[in-house]
Subunit: 533 residues, 2 copies
């Protein structure tokens, strides 16, 4: 839970208990030198040697790989260094080098975040992250939210521009990784990409309009047979790409990456995964079945609704504590800078602490008297002063109005309702959930104790909550490293049943009951009572 | 044997007795409209419908095809027009159209001749050539012979230039075909290419240097998994390409196309195929075995050595007759124009008629007296006046010197020696050859009776000689139309054994014996005696 996401992930492959079987591996092949007696072409010669040595059903070289061949490769001691990629018994030769140019097999893992791109350079044979970098998704210059970008893409040349910006971002990130690692992008021989369905579509140059119009259908669920050249990424042209598949517009490859990271494929126990972004995505299941739902719950939780809300970044208030007796407010900010706003986890903290210290009641109404120093009036009515102007970066106070509190409560209620509905659909209760994974930035910073206190997350033992961190990136790294992870992502995609959330009276009743802190039925949140004052 | 090669080939698919199974076929698929209940992506939806209907093991869409999809396709009556390509149970969706845009499935067949490119637009479902066009290979501006071009390609940017010129030629030819057929190149959904190994390498952008340096090894024998986009041909990007494979630098895809056209794969009888170009390539065999050899025999026969030699084109003398009594010379020219030179078949005719009318003796020496009007002296010694200056296009007489006659005799002797050597290698004699196919322009124009008369081709019944015409193009057309033809090309490539012609004393003895007209052993050419005077 390092606050600086750009730092190196504390990635330890051994903790995942996955067999190492990278997307691309190297081999040294004995290859006989061409002669007048045996004039078999260079490509077929290398393929035959790989087939003999690896016992593959078939070995093929791409045209791009073949273009790099020449007789010079065969002047040496009769051995060649090759990078190979296998799928379903078919082996592809990704790269051929003379022995003196042998080197590590590098892979690129990319988290295609709509706000931030995170890239990791992975040594596929050492199963280690060599470098990691994050940068702002260049698409953000044309809109912070995805919908704006899809509308931009509808304009003439808008789609091409969006595709170009995203790929430029990946290339920029790759260049930074390579500079740091002192290699050239051409030495990267494999890549795995995970992102939400829209980002993945942009990255592949696929149309995006259908994603946001009923019935919200992607163009492709499982992109395959792709190499770096197809996306013009500047890596080794024949480098295979593994794209984490999507299950509809709202269930992206990032979520599949999360399921891989949380190892749903091998879990006998029933687990829950929640990814809170623009939407809240929820998956319940274990190795034999998966059911998922998605719904709008995110904007407020992501910091996108409150006037002072902001995405997690330097100067964002991420932790809030309010003294139960004095009601003194203390907080921390990301990077320790003077506060500029409040990020999603800060908002949940704030809401919980305000409730637990009696500043708001169970309906979210301020109980402070108008003479209290923390009380103020805004255009939106009464508001709470989180940080007075003299403490903030801008000199303006950071406030939370009753209207914003209501939006926050609606968001947390939506989240809880989605969770409840998914569990009801399979006739289960929360106490039957063995592990509750919270993915993404939100999960990285949130304090589950306080998310429970406001009734956003269910009141299960805290030890069952697991912050997955950037599981989009981790899942991509695992896909680079392990055939089992790749198979797991595909299997999750195939097994996942999408539960359409029908807005019927039952759901509305559940939502209404959740619009109190922690809930209309307080008995569902027995631990909250112990926290108050 | 139409003299104008640019005309439409009299192609009749039914004569080949091959089952029609084109490289790409069309189908109408019932595809359910996406809905909130079933939000499967468009690509997967189409793939599933094709799989259901066609019973394929697996169906995939390329990224390029997916990029063309949108919800508009699903507004209609629930049916889509698709173009499919299948290989080894894996079906690829080449193109998707709404029903109102359904149309013929067009394929492009290309003969990658080093001098002339010939392209045919084929209706794959009607098994008919719709349009045919030929144009000069634009590479010829940098050298008429292949060796010059490969050396040019060794220079900086020279290879790229060669590749670009060749592809530009294909695109120019395609544009002409499309203009004539009133379609756009994007409507061409498949292509098959046949050419010698060098032309195929240039077309694929593969290095060519190794082809002409010992041990004369190609970069790739069997290019595969290619689409039109890989070669930037401007066709439908996902159009599959079938490239006729090569068996070494001297056994190109054009020869495999010849073997397919001549149906060696199903022949129980032993056949011979000869392709005379810059090299003479010979294949002997039947459905169970194939043995081939190549050797330098061509230049003279292609018109490249005699001072008045020229490739078959307008104004080339292609037929010569000399009255046995009066020794009056008559000839025809291609396109009926005043003569500019003599093409390969004309040279063979001339040599044979000169011998049969006693103008040269069995050693190729002129027997005319110096006072004869047909006798003249050149820098190269005595020469025969084929056409006096007043008859020719340039006003200069067309001559054939004794030196040139000697080169011609050496060429025909080389040809005969290669044939004899290949037969000897399997312990066979010429009378065991059921059919003798002569491919290419040479075979198209040559009179086998006279080729036998000079001892270039063996003295077997004339009915066994078959002119294959442009079998490089025909083989490519057949590959477009028939899975059996495609399998046949691959099978021929795999079965063909290359016989390295060792220049030993035995071979030199055979060559020396063949350096007379028709041969040192006249008894091998019994029919020739009946032709003389």
């Amino acid at each position: 839970m390092a606050p600086d996401m750009a730092g190196i992930n504390p990635f330890d492959f051994s903790t995942y208990r996955l067999p190492l079987a990278p997307l691309v591996t190297s081999a040294v092949l004995p290859v006989e030198r061409p002669s007048l007696r045996d004039n078999t072409a260079l490509a077929e010669r290398i393929a035959a040697a790989a087939q003999r040595q690896g016992g593959f059903k078939e070995v093929r070289l791409s045209l791009e790989t073949a273009r790099g061949l020449n007789m010079g490769f065969f002047q040496g001691n009769g051995a060649l260094w090759v990078a190979l990629s296998e799928e379903d018994g078919l082996c592809r030769v990704v790269e051929v080098r003379s022995m003196e140019r042998a080197g590590p097999v590098y892979g690129l893992a990319v988290d295609l975040g709509s706000t931030t791109l995170v890239l990791a350079l992975v040594d596929l044979e050492k199963a280690a992250i060599v470098q990691e970098v994050s940068l702002t998704n260049p698409q953000t210059e044309h809109g912070l939210d995805i919908l704006t970008r899809i509308h931009f893409a509808d304009k003439t040349a808008g789609h091409d521009k969006m595709v170009e910006l995203l790929r430029d971002g990946i290339k920029e990130g790759t260049d930074r990784l390579c500079t740091a690692a002192k290699i050239r992008p051409h030495q990267i021989l494999a890549a795995a990409l995970a992102g939400n369905t829209t980002m993945t579509h942009f990255c592949l140059g696929l149309p995006t309009a259908s994603l946001v119009r009923e019935p919200y259908v992607p163009i492709v669920n499982r992109p395959r047979d792709l190499t770096a050249a197809d996306l013009d990424l500047g890596l080794c042209p024949s480098a295979p790409l593994f794209i984490l598949p999507n299950k509809g517009s709202y269930f992206g490859g990032d979520l599949m990456a999360g399921l891989v990271t949380a190892d749903f494929n091998r879990s006998e126990e029933v687990c829950l995964l929640v990814d809170v972004g623009t939407n809240a995505e929820v998956v319940l299941g274990q190795r034999d079945w998966l059911i998922g739902a998605a719904g709008a719950a995110g904007p407020a939780l992501e910091g996108g609704v409150a006037a002072m809300g902001m995405t997690a970044g330097p100067g964002a208030i991420d932790r809030v504590r309010i003294d139960r007796t004095t009601r003194a407010v203390s907080y921390t900010t990301l990077s320790g800078l003077p506060p500029r706003g409040i990020c999603g986890s800060g908002l949940i903290d704030l809401l919980a602490e305000m409730y637990l210290s009696g500043i708001i009641d169970y309906r979210g109404r301020l109980t402070l008297s108008e003479t209290d120093g923390r009380w103020t009036r805004t255009d939106e009515g009464a508001a709470f002063v989180v940080a007075p102007g003299e403490e903030t970066a801008t000199g303006e106070p950071i406030l939370l109005s009753e209207v914003e509190i209501d939006i926050l409560i609606r968001s947390k209620a939506a989240m809880y309702t989605i969770l409840e509905t998914v569990l009801l659909s399979v006739g289960m209760t929360f106490d039957q959930v063995a592990r509750f994974y919270v993915a993404g930035t939100f999960g990285q910073y949130i304090d589950p104790r306080l998310a429970v206190a406001v009734g956003m997350l269910p009141d299960i033992p805290l030890s069952r909550y697991v912050a997955l961190g950037n599981s989009s990136l981790t899942g991509a790294v695992l896909a680079l490293l392990s055939a089992e992870a790749r198979a797991g992502a595909l299997s999750a995609w195939q097994r996942l049943t999408y539960l359409e959330l029908n807005v019927n009276q039952d759901l509305m009743n559940r939502f209404s009951a959740a619009r109190f802190i922690p809930h209309t039925y307080r008995e569902r949140f027995p631990s909250v009572g112990t926290l108050i004052r």
